[in-house]
Amino acid sequence: MDEPIRTGRQLGLYSCHTCGRVSERTGHAAPDAPLACPRCGTHLHHRNPRSLERAWAYTWAAIVLYLPANLLPVMTTVSLTGAVPHTILGGIHELWMNGDWGLAVIVFVASVAVPIVKIASLVLLLLSAGRNSTWCSRERTALWRGIEAVGHWSMLDVFVVVLLVGMIHFGPLAGVEPEPGLVAFGAVVVLTILAVSSFDPRLLWPDPADNPPQPNASPPPHE
């Protein structure tokens, strides 16, 4: 169990993220020559190219859209007494006041807590990966895994509004109309999912042995 851990980059091994095949690169080639997995054709890299740039771009876009997503109404309820716009937080407040505490907590976690925690975690991961930090690599990888696992749940409110639009459709008696805030909210969810999936967690494991690269690119002549 106490064997030292070797990395794929040290051993010249590439793992395919699509099919799991482990490939060893042999033969002479430029170090940046494009490699494709022989089994499934996925590009092979020790670190995904431009992972940080792409993840930062998606994260910034999500941060910008976070404001309209929470300030603009996501739906309007129409009844005989008039039309009332609802924001995400307003909907949660309404559930809480009606005594549906459990449900209010579920919606709060999915729609408010998860996006905030995701964006904050992304910024933390991106900043620390950008500085090649070796601090708490295992915990930071677990954090990345966590925000990847919970990301989908923020779509909850998008589905809820679409379903309410379909359900409460009784002309002037009662109706629910979707509002532009919902597009911004859905965009935040999609953008944070894209940011998390384009972040390469291997950047959380900067390897002192890899940097600078070992001078073993040219194998000794056997012939």
């Binding site: 095949r21 490939s23 002479h28 559930l95 295992r138 998008v158 379909g166 494991w205």
Partner: protein, 229 residues
């Protein structure tokens, strides 16, 4: 240069460049696993049913002992197809407001959202709740149906990569919870009864979760054994 006097398999005009020697060769190592999340190399071990292997360095999931055989997975996918159809065509809920009866299906709700002037939201909900789950189920049926009969399906690589993508973006389980939330939220406005569609989506969630948990590596390996790549 004696090093270049290798037997030539094909005759091509000598351009001076040697593309065959320059192309990197990727040798497979079926006995190893490399962690996707931290690049640590591990020896592959055989996992018994229900056992989970995690990376020694970062704790990432490396593999799962297969709980469902490929034949079982095909059966699950067939059942999922049935529930997907019921879930989308049977009413999710039936509402009653002062004598006005209404049944709601997800495609209809999406259509009304488009009509109400939010087509982008409607498309987002449509792809994550209907299109990707349907793609996931149909691609699984296609790939597994061929592999179980000992044949590699045409377009195997493409189908498998599309399947991975569809699995990543399918949000059936979130949709199920949303349906429950929206039922509670509209209970104050109209009388409502949960319909067949809701139970079908619940069954679909269970089936998809249990089949997608195993990942796709075993299907790739099955394809490789039959001669795909």
């Amino acid at each position: 240069m004696p090093g270049l006097n290798v037997p030539q398999a094909d005759v091509r005009p000598d351009t001076g460049a040697a593309p065959a020697a320059a192309a990197p060769v990727l040798v497979g190592h079926p006995g190893l696993v490399v962690c996707d999340e931290c690049d640590a190399v591990h020896k592959r071990i055989r996992l018994s049913r229900g056992v989970v292997a995690r990376c020694r360095r970062c704790g990432a999931l490396l593999g799962r002992g297969h709980v469902v055989t490929p034949t079982g997975q095909l059966a699950f996918a067939l059942a999922a197809l049935v529930f997907l159809l019921i879930g989308n065509f049977a009413p999710l809920v039936t509402l009653d407001l002062q004598g006005i009866h209404k049944t709601v299906t997800m495609p209809h709700a999406i259509w009304l959202t488009t009509q109400a002037g939010e087509p982008v939201t409607a498309v987002l909900a449509c792809v994550t709740a209907i299109v990707f789950p349907a793609m996931l189920v149909l691609l699984r049926l296609y790939v597994l149906g061929f592999l179980i009969r000992g044949r590699v399906p045409p377009g195997f690589r493409f189908a498998m990569r599309a399947l991975r993508w569809a699995t990543y973006w399918s949000m059936v389980e979130v949709f199920l919870l949303s349906a429950l939330v929206s039922i509670v939220r509209s209970a104050g406005i109209a009388d409502l009864v949960p319909g067949m569609g809701l139970f079908a989506y619940a069954a679909l969630t269970l089936l998809l979760t249990s089949t997608t948990a195993a990942g796709l590596h075993s299907i790739w390996k099955l394809g490789s054994r039959l001669g795909a790549g």
